[in-house]
Subunit: 343 residues, 2 copies
């Protein structure tokens, strides 16, 4: 956005990386009056906001979903919308959903049967997450004014304790709840008709049950959570490191990755650490509780392949260091567009 030429929005501004963060900071975060009542407000740029309500917190989060294609291996835009919002609440330490909203924007001429299919998928995801849609909105735009279907879901929840993305201290363990990069690569394969689709399906799933189990096992020892969506694990770890004021060292060989995802990533030449997930969480845990929390997560159906992939360090605050087993290098923060409309 800086300097030369036309000052216009580019695809990189929606990609979950540094360019998006800079745009949001410039246009929105610094310009809205902060809410003095918010424990976690807009300026935190966390997965959602938290505001004190009696002796608890009301957590609120919003996401628009523009994924293309609408139907993809392992899910669709409806499942993505419900899970994305449920997961953002869970990442704030609020796995019990109070309610969801669903706003639909649809293109004139869109098949009604596809809308019904998306609704069914939303309903199924709601049941998995023990969540209900409380209210909604419907808008229609003309042909070629919007590409098919866009959804917005907002969620509210109550929490006894807030977990942010900035609570890491040197020595804390960092867990990932399962194999990475499946969502982004499944979308990429679907979009470009890659023949390797095979068992490459999106991981899109509601994580609130898993988070509930982790919090029950870990309690106050769970100090940071984030779901590595746009920008992948690399972007999420960079954000956690920078906000916490610590470095993060990742053991590359410990990061779970399915063979199909590894093959697809190699074929298209992307780093799986930069690829979006929609059913995984990064969990920062005090070292002494790490094994206990790992065990609790592995006992959950969505966490069987969870692993400790790294730790927070006093070294290089804000940086993410990748230990490849043969050496160490800085893991770059994604700047912009790896894949547009991934979620």
């Amino acid at each position: 956005m800086s300097g030369s030429g036309a000052d216009r929005i580019g695809m990189k501004h929606g990609a979950g990386g540094r360019a998006m963060r800079e745009l949001i900071e410039r246009v929105f975060v610094g310009r809205f009056d902060p809410d003095p009542r918010a424990t976690v407000g807009l300026d935190a740029m966390d997965d959602g906001a938290a505001i004190r309500l009696g002796d608890r917190w009301l957590v609120i989060t919003t996401d628009s979903h523009v994924v293309h294609p609408i139907f993809f291996p392992g899910g669709d835009i409806g499942r993505l919308a419900i899970c994305g919002t449920v997961n953002d609440l869970a990442m704030m330490g609020a796995p019990e959903v109070l309610g969801l909203t669903c706003a639909v924007i649809v293109e004139e001429g869109f098949p009604a049967s596809d809308l019904e299919r998306v609704q069914e998928s939303m309903q199924a995801a709601c049941r998995e997450a023990s969540a209900c849609v409380l209210t909604g909105d419907t808008k229609v735009m003309g042909r070629r004014e919007i590409d098919g279907l866009v959804l917005n879901t907002t969620g509210v929840a109550l929490a006894d304790r807030i977990v942010t993305d900035r609570g890491l201290r040197p020595g804390d363990a960092i867990l990932v709840t399962g194999p990475i990069a499946d969502h982004g690569l499944a979308i990429l394969a679907a979009r470009h008709g890659l023949s390797l689709e095979g068992d490459l399906v999106s991981d899109v799933a509601p994580l609130n049950g898993l988070v509930r189990a982790a919090l029950a096992a870990g309690g106050d020892s769970i100090v940071a959570m984030k779901d590595p969506t746009r920008g992948g694990v690399a972007s999420a770890l960079h954000e956690m490191a920078a906000k916490s004021g610590v470095g993060v060292v990742v053991d590359e060989r410990a990061v779970p990755l399915r063979a199909a995802a590894r093959a697809a990533a190699e074929l298209v030449g992307v780093d799986p650490l930069h690829v979006a997930n929609e059913g995984k969480a990064l969990v920062g845990v005090r070292a002494e509780a790490a094994d206990r929390v790992l065990e609790a997560i592995r006992a959950h159906p969505l966490g069987k392949e969870a692993a400790i992939i790294g730790r927070a360090s006093a070294e290089r605050p804000g940086g993410v260091i990748l230990d490849t087993g043969v050496g160490r290098r800085l893991l770059a923060e994604p700047i912009g567009e790896l894949m547009p409309r991934i979620c």
Copy 2:
């Protein structure tokens, strides 16, 4: 959506009338599991939902905004988004906003300066409404995948008492808080470059201060509220009548209408009762409190031209009867597309 030919979404399905209601009922309302904890849930199809929280209610509402053009006389999409959501909360009896979310979807190539202008407008409206944006989301879609800029705002509020759109009883007075049809006609004039723009500007404004004053004066005597947005006063009254199981008789000569709006409506051949408003409310009040509430609303800067325009009746439940002064006729419920993308 019924019967012959292609079962596809049409512009009428976003127009706030009967076709939209039927689509929503068919695809969404009847298909999502209802939340047993909700006092006002999805099936109510009210301005928002209400869920019990201790001895109060949490009210939540969501709206996407697709107005075209983005900047129009009297406002822009940013002001519309904040006011629309604040007003929906207020219509539920919850004028004290706990917080708002703001999700932005922007087209690649959109001028950053326009985005900043929209943000400034949102911030100004937030101050008028004593509301804060707590959290947000940003997505970018490619060129020609979305027309410029779309916003979603969701709002939450706490209320001691819920006001729905279905509380009318025969004999209740119906007030409107000021002159109607300004918003829709201002958009229409801007879109088609009509030269009559003159003092025809949108009424878009946050009504929560006015509603606070009305509730303070009327208390439990205020039994129904609704803001006549898409589909105008006609559509809102039809909904209130049908849900309340009463008829509504409107005194056409009592309905406030500015000269500029009257002239524009005549020129383009639309009934002002069918045109969208973004800064007006319909308020149903027990007859004995009507004058007191009218006085309180008129004392508010946004309610100076408020008027009692009709009353609920036992006659023709679900119907709206227009008394023109020379006779009475049924006021039709809008079915579909008067003007697309009006909000």
